[in-house]
């Protein structure tokens, strides 16, 4: 029962992700694309929940669906256009190249997936994901964690300086 339910949920979510991803690409209005992106991120969070990664799912919701989309939407709306229609049109120049690269990538990936079947790993699911993540991040990988924090701080200060500088000139 539970397994069947999971499978059904997986396919429903996967379908939503694919439809939303197509929506991002094919929508002619940038705002609609950004909204499809939110939908895509939220369904990916659902996929994480199916994989028992509940903390990651909440992070996905908060960071990607919550913040990134707001920033995208703000960026779009601050561009001074009267109408947002036809703001996300395909670049005719590169369409041919993109098609070629996609076909090559698709052939390569299908070759790999057909010839090397993915091994079904038996992994015991971690019950308390938060504690386990905390142990790893603040224990074993604390150096990488701190370096990332300093890097982000530098980026933030840089952004503030750039924004201030643009104001002065």
């Amino acid at each position: 029962m539970n397994n069947a339910m999971d499978t059904v949920l997986f396919y429903v979510l996967a379908l939503i992700v694919i439809i939303a991803a197509c929506g991002i690409v094919y929508c002619k209005n940038l705002v609609h694309s950004a909204l499809f992106m939110t939908l895509c991120f939220i369904s990916i969070a659902g996929l994480y929940v199916l994989l028992n990664a509940d903390f990651l799912a909440a992070v996905q919701l908060m960071v990607y669906a919550g913040t990134v989309v707001i920033l995208i939407a703000l960026g779009i709306m601050m561009t001074r256009r009267i109408s947002m229609d036809r703001s996300n049109m395909a670049e005719r120049k590169y369409t041919g190249w993109v098609k070629c690269i996609s076909v090559v990538l698709f052939i390569c990936l299908s070759y790999i997936f057909i010839n090397f079947p993915v091994p079904l790993a038996k992994v015991n699911t971690v019950q308390d994901t938060v504690a386990a993540l905390a142990q790893l991040l603040l224990g074993h990988y604390v150096l990488a964690f701190e370096i990332a924090a300093v890097l982000l701080l530098a980026a933030m200060i840089g952004a503030v300086v750039l924004a201030k500088g643009a104001d002065d000139k």
């Binding site: 509940d54 669906a65 939407a73």
Partner: protein
């Protein structure tokens, strides 16, 4: 196992259904449906009570009567309002993005209702006691800003758009002090689970241990729910009603519904995190929970009808320059405190 009143009722109900349906899966599905209906029932009943309560409290504070014509003490005023809203003409602005504009009020209600899944209403009475409880609440709550942005954008009205821009600025700056004040509670509990946070307060409420975090949390919750000292998103006298300007009738009622659902969940969060949840002597846990929630809601209303509206820059500088450093300081102090406590015992 010892269970509270709500859990006993739920068990009785599920046994009763089991004897009628006679299959485990059937019972589970029916119980899930009942739980979903229960969430919506709690929200709708609470909204009816809160709208009446808000108008009476507001009247009392401003030294006037408030609604007192429909029914005894004006209790049926909300019902009359609902009938009025339902019979109103549904006006759709000509230039609005029809689909986006139409789905926004419904979407806004989704995060407002979703967070109720992890609230502990009584001993063991929690729909989904997930590991990441409080973090889930924060992640889902942060989604509602997108709907405000959408509503303002899709209305194609400059006041709506200014309102939605303010919504983004306000919610981003209120969420960070809120997250840090919650973090102080989580540091003491050592768990994100809602049930753990409540059971950690069986001896001492966290408002005693974390008075600073409590004040920061209350202020940032008022910002998060767009209530009066910080209701810059609506700002009736400057930007008409912000994102709701173009909505009328039932669509406007949906905005209102989610606003009061958010107020209720702000009160529930305050009670769960700082005021000991359902803990209390004599009475069953649920009653204590309801009493505390209504006291907190009354305090929220008291604050909002006492103070005038701030300016957006005042609100932003309060949140970034005062609340955030205080919350960070509080975390450092809490960390040292927890360390000393562990070292002593």
């Amino acid at each position: 196992m010892h269970y509270g009143l709500l859990m006993s009722i739920a068990n009785m109900l599920s046994n009763g259904i089991n004897s009628i349906v006679n299959s485990r899966i059937g019972t589970q599905i029916i119980m899930a449906l009942i739980e979903i209906i229960a969430i919506f029932a709690v929200i709708s009943v609470a909204v009816i009570i809160l709208v009446y309560m808000e108008r009476r409290v507001c009247g009392f504070i401003q030294d006037r009567l408030g609604p007192n014509r429909v029914g005894p003490f004006g209790i049926l005023q909300t019902v009359a309002d609902m009938i009025k809203l339902m019979t109103k003409e549904d006006i759709i602005p000509k230039k609005a993005h029809k689909i986006l504009w139409g789905i926004t009020p419904m979407l806004l209600f989704v995060p407002a209702a979703l967070v109720y899944a992890v609230y502990p209403f009584g001993d063991g009475a929690i729909f989904a006691d997930v590991n990441i409880g409080i973090f889930f609440v924060m992640a889902v709550m942060s989604q509602s800003v997108l709907m405000f942005l959408l509503g303002g954008f899709a209305s194609e009205n400059k006041y709506s758009f200014i309102g939605s821009m303010r919504a983004v600025a306000q919610m981003l700056s209120s969420e960070i002090p809120m997250a840090f004040s919650i973090l102080a509670v989580v540091m003491i509990t050592g768990s994100l689970k809602m049930s753990d946070i409540v059971s950690a307060q069986s001896n001492a409420w966290f408002v005693v241990l974390q008075p600073l975090a409590f004040i920061i949390f209350i202020i940032s919750m008022i910002m998060e729910t767009n209530r009066t000292p910080f209701n810059l998103v609506e700002g009736e006298s400057e930007i008409i009603a912000g994102p709701f300007t173009e909505y009328s009738g039932m669509r406007w009622a949906l905005f209102f519904l989610s606003e009061y659902a958010n107020l209720l969940s702000a009160a529930i969060l305050t009670v769960t995190l700082f005021l000991g949840g359902w803990h209390g002597p004599l009475l069953p846990g649920v009653f204590w929970f309801i009493i505390k929630v209504f006291i907190v809601i009354f305090i929220f209303m008291w604050i909002s009808w006492t103070y005038p509206r701030t300016r957006i820059d005042q609100m932003m500088s309060l949140s970034w320059k005062i609340l955030l450093p205080l919350a960070l300081l509080n975390i450092v102090v809490t960390g040292i405190g927890v360390y000393i406590y562990k070292w002593m015992y």
